[in-house]
């Protein structure tokens, strides 16, 4: 028996899940936005503040050494968690958004030329579009959108057909935060590699749900964000092939990213520190280390299995609701569901569901181009995690029915 089979015990480790909202028990279905944190993470953060609070990499005293070993320990844990080859490949960032900007500024920008292309899918989060647009605008390069299908799946052949000698990078989300689609990233990575085009995979929505193995994927860059992985916000990583990190110039200057500074010339530290300017979010990364330990103890495979089950239960439930239209019908999907409801606006549904204790997100989910593709300004999104239950799905369905009666 896996620990996850005792779901009440698992839930008891997440203090937030016991909250009462407007007199109702919280049903937290906004996990794709940010995940709740287990006690172990909260305790690691406050333990650092009350016991070991010191700065990293700078002081030889006990507190400094404790803080450094906790912080660097998180890097080691993350390295193992995603199957990276070495700790030098793990650059700790504020999150996915910063990771992608780092690649845009340091990897692409110095050599981008007019007419160069950056190929991304039409189902990317803004964070995997706008950084490319910024460096493209500066250099005359172009951001090219790869097509998706009416099911909300990647048009794999369409994307591969767009790869050409001007393509300087292929960016693709592992799992779509708006549609739940799990993309066949290995096919795209291999197709790009065959054409010597580097790949960046946005793993924000994948890492919390199943085991990642970046070495086997063989992508050039894999990015993720800690807060969806049950750790504090303001933490994340860029996992990159060492050769790229060695070749890339630094992005931001200052703090521990240097080796020696003078007004005549400055030399830089080795990766990953070269890309970690200033004092990092130490408590946050200590929390990320604790989150990974916690996930390892529960087991990513057990988590994935439970989420697959919850996904299927939720999918059947949604199919039975008249007037509810699911957006995206990918065959490979996570437990993330976007939908619209006849005669009811997404924001009204979300606010009124909240009155029933149900937290969902409404809006464009930072994916305007995906919404444009489906001709919608906004959807309601319910996104589940392993700690959710079938009873919560039933409560959600009942609350939605009540909300629709109110708005009718």
């Amino acid at each position: 028996m896996s620990r996850i089979d005792d779901i009440d015990a698992i839930r008891a480790e997440f203090p937030q899940l016991a909250r009462i909202i407007h007199g109702k028990p919280l049903v937290y279905f906004d996990n794709a936005n940010t995940a709740q944190k287990p006690h172990a993470v909260i305790a690691a953060v406050s333990g650092y503040f009350s016991e070991h609070n010191g700065n990293v990499a700078r002081a030889v005293h006990t507190l400094g050494e404790e803080a450094t070993s906790l912080y660097e320990g998180a890097r080691d844990k993350l390295m193992r968690f995603v199957g990276a080859r070495s700790r030098e490949e793990i650059v700790l960032t504020r999150g996915t958004t910063e990771s992608i900007n780092l690649v845009a500024y340091s990897f692409l920008r110095p050599t981008l030329k007019p007419g160069d292309e950056i190929l991304v899918s039409r189902m990317e989060h803004h964070s995997n579009i706008v950084p490319w647009q910024l460096v493209a605008a500066e250099t005359g390069a172009i951001v090219v959108p790869a097509p998706i299908t009416d099911r909300g799946e990647l048009d794999v052949d369409g994307m591969i057909a767009l790869m050409n000698s001007r393509t300087r990078l292929v960016g693709l989300t592992h799992v779509s935060n708006a549609l739940g689609t799990i993309n066949p990233i290995k096919t795209i990575i291999d197709a790009a590699a065959a054409r010597a085009i580097p790949t960046l995979i946005d793993g924000s929505q994948a890492a919390p749900h199943f085991k990642i193995d970046v070495a086997a994927l063989n992508c050039d860059f894999y990015v993720l964000t800690g807060h969806k992985l049950f750790a504090p916000t303001g933490t994340g990583a860029l996992i990159a092939k060492r050769a790229h990190l060695d070749a890339m110039p630094p992005f931001m200057g200052g703090g521990e990213m240097i080796r020696r500074v003078s007004f005549e010339g400055t030399s830089f530290n080795d990766p990953p520190h070269k890309f970690e300017p200033g004092t990092p979010n130490i408590a946050g990364f200590i929390g990320l280390g604790a989150a990974i330990d916690w996930l390892d103890a529960v087991g990513m495979d057990a988590i994935a299995a439970r989420e697959t089950h919850l996904r299927d239960v939720m999918l059947s439930a949604l199919h039975e609701i008249p007037g509810l239209r699911l957006i995206g019908a990918a065959r490979e999907r996570a437990a993330v569901f976007s939908f619209v409801v006849d005669g009811a606006h997404a924001h009204d549904i979300a606010t009124l569901l909240d009155q029933e204790g149900v937290a969902v997100r409404s809006g464009h989910h930072c994916t305007h181009p995906t919404m444009q593709f489906f001709g919608l300004p906004a959807t309601v999104r319910a996104s589940l995690s392993f700690y959710n239950t079938e009873a919560e799905i039933a409560a959600f369905v009942a609350a939605l029915a009540k909300v629709r009666r109110m708005l009718a």
């Binding site: 997404a346 924001h347 409404s362 109110m406």
Partner: protein, 139 residues
């Protein structure tokens, strides 16, 4: 901050949403304005006709959430017979209400609970912003 039961979707708001006043397009409008809510992509058009220094009629159009629709319905009602300068005053009163709670005499008291829903305040302000845009873009 406390998760008190909300009064946002009051009968007043729901009724305006079900049967909004002044919804459609205004013939002979002298002013047209549009505003957009970045959070949900809603667009709202608002037009009015000014005679002398008085708004003779105002109408709105758009596929919006209940809060925006009810606010537009009430605003277009409130504007009829008012001077154009009233738009900015009403918007200011709404903002004060978000900060400080319902004002003594306020047509828009139905939105008082928005002080507990900062993320939805923009929905109620959208018609005001469209009206202010209309003041600037005279046809």
């Amino acid at each position: 901050m406390s998760a008190h039961p909300s009064t946002l979707y009051s009968e007043t708001v729901l009724a305006h949403n079900r049967a909004p006043k002044n919804c459609g397009s205004l013939v002979d409008a002298t002013h047209h304005g549009v505003a957009e809510n970045a959070m949900c992509g809603d667009h709202l058009k608002l037009s009015f006709r000014v005679h002398g220094n008085v708004i003779a009629a105002a109408m709105f159009d758009g596929d919006s959430c209940a809060i925006t629709t009810a606010s537009a319905s009430m605003l277009t009602e409130a504007l009829r017979g008012a001077s154009p300068a009233r738009i900015a005053e009403l918007r200011e009163e709404m903002l004060m209400m978000f900060r400080a709670g319902p004002l003594a005499r306020d047509d828009f008291a139905a939105f008082a609970d928005l002080c507990h829903h900062p993320a939805r305040q923009r929905c109620a302000l959208l018609p005001f912003d469209a009206a202010i845009a209309a003041l600037q873009t005279k046809e």
